[in-house]
């Protein structure tokens, strides 16, 4: 029996959102100021939601762990944001954007949500321009577009290589205005520690002030989580250092289902790990694969000589280079999709052909020599100059002269908290937006669509759907947390947790455990998975967890700024999230999108989906700390789309 009700509105796909808006409940303006909404997160999803809800008249409390909302991880997005404007007149439509997104997600996303996403995409660009985002322009003064990730139309809007930054600053400026007006109370450097449920509804949160260590409760008639992805479970990723899964994990433990936990996107072109002390991985834009050729040496001894610096890559003769993507995928060559490119690089390095002088010997070349010869250095510089510069800053290698070294990296989590069409979780009054929810990308996210989803959720979906819930809450009086047992209990639980962490007084640092977990995740729950490794991962993670809770050391005090304690909290949750990811991957006995099971490969090495048995969203219900979670299935139906096998050979 399933408790999942996706609440997809009646009617034809293209009418559903309009129908919903026409019939939902609204809150009268005079009542709005009596309703409090908690928004955790100030990225594109949270920042946009907090600003928009405050503009409507609700009283909003907004939280982030950084010192300013403007530093949310969304700021790092480079490439661009999609919309179906069809300004270039090349035949784009809402339907086409919808179709590409569903197909890109390998038919594991919910049709109605994705259609709505495509439908509101255009309004996002309008909103951004009105806020003063300096999008790239044509000479005629109109907006410029570029194409992205194999789409047949040009629909990606951008602001140089800083699109995420500019979109976030737009939302942040709207948010700042509302803070200035007193409609939003902003809590910087404040971390969510728990979610408070009163009579079955989300009524608030418990937080820790990261400067004073003070534990506090906040009441809200509804709670919105927009806390980003949990990719840092892998330790090394392209995510910001503080990105965490704690907020969604607390939600899960309070009854919200966690969906498709194993769907992780691995980006093929990050700068490889250089040493054991490395803290994160830096992304190099996907666009580089348009002109760069990817290769490793054909012979192991050459790879070894290159790693050891005895042989320079540029001196390896042509016939000794293995252009493995061109060899394996003659039709797409270096432009195969992200998951395919990533796996192929792993296959070569696993076999010992990696070229980077690091402990894992992982890395492949991305060579611009051929493009420079064909197009000239100037054109390459014009196209990729800033990326080449960034690469040189990090590696001290000049990519005009020697090939770049790249390797796949964890980048984005498609899984997250299960939400219905209204972005509400299985806990009434608890909503989840942006990367933190599972909803729109299925098993694989296309480039330039995460920004679109975050802003769609924040500006144009939540402000409507949350009212449908709040309309029934106008009679609920504001609670004073100190007078309510549930709040008091939640605060006490948090205090107990922190004391427990501080009291371990073991011998190992938080990073020691995080790195150990990361290794298991990368090796067993990474680009390629199989039953044995996944089972092995679950056991290993359990062992690390045990060691963590008996041998962790946190210096300093709890009632003060304590970075080690902050990290310990997050890693404690990553250990559990990692286990659920492995469990989810184990259950999904098929290959789809970013989830690749080596047991399910087609003859030519592609991912082999199993629609008959797995065309569902896997939503996990928490059943207790030492009890296996329960799997619920939301079957996926495609009414307006023909489900096909993704084909990279032709188009």
């Amino acid at each position: 029996m399933t408790k999942l009700n996706s609440k997809i509105p009646e009617g034809k796909l293209k009418d559903k959102w309009s129908n919903y808006k026409a019939h939902q409940n609204l809150v009268n303006p005079a009542n709005k100021r009596n309703l409090d909404i908690i928004v955790v997160g100030t990225g594109l999803a949270g920042g946009a939601a907090a600003a928009s809800l405050a503009e409507l008249g609700f009283k909003v409390k907004n939280f982030c762990y950084q010192d300013s909302p403007r530093r949310a991880h969304s700021i790092a997005a480079q490439g661009g944001i999609n919309a179906a404007k069809n300004y270039p007149n090349d035949g784009d439509t809402v339907y086409r954007l919808f179709y590409d997104t569903i197909k890109g997600g390998d038919y594991r996303a919910r049709e109605a949500n994705v259609y709505r996403l495509a439908e509101v995409s255009n309004a996002i660009i309008d909103q951004g321009v009105a806020q003063g985002i300096p999008f790239a322009r044509e000479y005629g003064g109109l907006l410029d577009n570029r194409s992205f990730g194999g789409a047949l139309v040009s629909r990606t809007f951008y602001a140089r290589g800083q699109t995420g930054q500019q979109l976030l600053l737009g939302a942040y400026s709207a948010l700042s205005r509302q803070i200035g007006l007193g409609n939003v109370t902003m809590y910087n450097r404040t971390e969510l520690m728990d979610i408070v449920i009163v009579d079955g509804k989300a009524r608030g949160i418990v937080t820790r002030n990261l400067i004073t260590g003070k534990i506090e409760s906040h009441f809200g008639h509804a709670v919105v989580l927009a806390t980003g992805g949990y990719g840092n479970a892998f330790f090394l990723s392209t995510n910001a250092m503080g990105s965490n899964g704690s907020a969604v994990w607390k939600a899960y433990k309070k009854g919200a289902f966690f969906a498709n936990a194993s769907f992780v996107q691995i980006h093929p072109t990050a700068i490889p790990q250089h040493g054991d002390f490395q803290s994160k991985l830096t992304l190099m834009s996907e666009s580089l694969r348009n002109d760069g050729r990817i290769w490793v040496p054909k012979k192991k001894e050459d790879a070894e000589a290159i790693r050891e610096g005895r042989l320079k890559a540029e001196n390896l003769p042509e016939e000794d280079r293995d252009f493995f993507l061109e060899r394996r995928y003659p039709a797409f060559g270096n432009l195969v999709p992200r998951d395919v490119a990533a796996r192929a690089a792993k296959e070569r390095t696993d076999k010992g052909f990696g070229i980077e002088n690091n402990t894992t010997k992982e890395g492949v070349f991305l060579d611009f020599k051929y493009a420079i010869k064909r197009l000239g250095k100037d054109l390459i510089e014009e196209r990729y100059g800033n990326l080449f510069q960034m690469y040189e800053k990090i590696t001290a290698d000049n990519p005009y002269k020697t090939p770049m070294k790249i390797f796949p990296a964890i980048h984005y989590t498609m899984g997250g908290i299960w939400v219905d069409y209204e972005l509400q979780t299985t806990v009434p009054g608890l909503f989840v937006a942006g990367e933190a929810n599972f909803s729109d990308h299925g098993a694989n996210r296309l480039g330039a669509s995460a920004l679109m989803q975050g802003l769609a959720d924040g500006y144009f979906v939540l402000p409507y759907t949350i009212q449908n819930y709040l309309a029934y809450e106008i009679g609920t009086e504001r609670m004073v947390p100190s007078e309510h047992d549930e709040f008091k209990k939640a605060e006490k639980d948090v205090e107990t947790l922190i004391d427990k962490l501080m009291d371990i007084k073991g011998t190992k640092s938080v990073d020691y455990f995080h790195k150990k977990l990361g290794k298991v995740m990368w090796n067993n729950v990474g680009m390629e998975r199989n039953e044995k490794d996944l089972k092995d991962a679950i056991n290993k993670i359990k062992e690390i967890k045990k060691e963590f809770w008996s041998d962790l050391k946190i210096p300093g005090e709890k009632n003060a700024l304590n970075v080690e304690l902050e990290k310990a909290n997050r890693v404690a949750d990553f250990l559990e999230i990692g286990e659920l990811m492995a469990r989810d991957a184990l259950n999904r006995d098929e290959s789809s999108g970013g989830h690749f099971r080596s047991e399910h490969i087609t003859e030519d090495g592609e991912a082999k989906r199993n629609d008959k048995d797995f065309m569902y969203v896997a939503a996990w219900e928490y059943k207790g700390d030492d009890v296996d979670p329960e799997l619920h299935k939301e079957p996926l139906h495609y009414e307006e789309i023909e489900v096909k096998t993704r084909n990279y050979k032709t188009a």
Binding site: V129, M241, F277, D511
Partner: protein, 252 residues
């Protein structure tokens, strides 16, 4: 490129909290890979401190990609260290010599009180933004994006200004602790665009008023801020801010 390791000596500012008096502590680190970033070097130091049962050094950072603006640090007397057009997280250890002594201090400015060790409070920037760093537009109900044509050159110049990461290196570098470069970047970005033009002088006036209130000093056009700005924000924006500010004063 085969990597190399170096040994370094550190003098790091340690300060328990805003009220306590701070001082330098000396540390020595051996075998630091020159390929590490500066912040990874501090990670190594911190791991070492934790293993010795000491408190790690607190410092601000998040993206480690030069874009969030959260990292700070005065390194050998320079904001973001000895290289130009970078944030601290983009600084790499190959910039330093074997056995070199590196001095690390927090941003120093009255407007940015120390929270702990190398971490400072930059919320004064937030207050300035809340006073006018926006275009007064609500969500929805806006015109089609292409209804407002903007000359490519204006959009590019606005983008130059908009790339400010709000790090505060300009303030930390300025002998008067002026926040003019930061404020001018925002004022300029929005004044260059037709959407933002309408409120341009009011914005300048409000933001400058709060800037003064928050205890930032005056701009004396020395240009140190421009030199240390990781994003190359130009002094020319200060001229535009002054112009908008002047117009606002004439109008009132």
């Amino acid at each position: 490129m085969a990597s190399k390791n170096i040994n370094i000596n550190l003098k790091v500012w340690r300060q328990k909290d805003a009220k306590s008096k701070g001082g330098f502590e000396k540390y020595r680190l051996e075998n630091i890979s020159v390929d590490s970033s500066f912040l990874e070097m501090i990670d190594v130091l911190n791991e070492k401190l934790v293993n010795e049962d000491k408190e790690p050094v607190a410092f601000d950072h998040d993206c480690r990609e030069g874009i969030c603006g959260m990292c700070s640090l005065f390194i050998n007397g320079r904001a973001h260290g000895p290289d130009s057009l970078i944030t601290t997280c983009q600084l790499h250890m190959r910039t330093f010599k074997d056995n070199e002594t590196i001095i690390i201090e927090p941003w120093r400015s009255g407007g940015f009180p120390v929270i702990k060790d190398l971490m400072v409070d930059r919320t004064a920037f937030e207050k300035i933004m809340q006073a006018g760093g926006f275009i007064s537009v609500n969500t929805g109900g806006v015109p089609d994006a292409n209804a407002i044509p903007i000359a490519k050159a204006a959009a590019e110049e606005a983008m130059d200004a908009a790339s400010c990461v709000g790090c505060g290196a300009c303030v930390a570098t300025c002998k008067n602790s002026s926040a003019m470069l930061f404020v001018s970047a925002k004022v300029s970005q929005l004044a260059l665009l037709p959407q933002g033009k309408i409120e341009a002088s009011k914005r300048a006036k409000n933001m400058v008023a709060v800037m003064d209130e928050m205890g930032f000093g005056n701009c004396s056009n020395t240009g140190a801020c421009e030199m240390e700005c990781p994003k190359g924000i130009s002094l020319a924006h200060i001229a535009r801010l002054n112009r908008e500010f002047l117009i606002a004063n004439i109008k009132s």
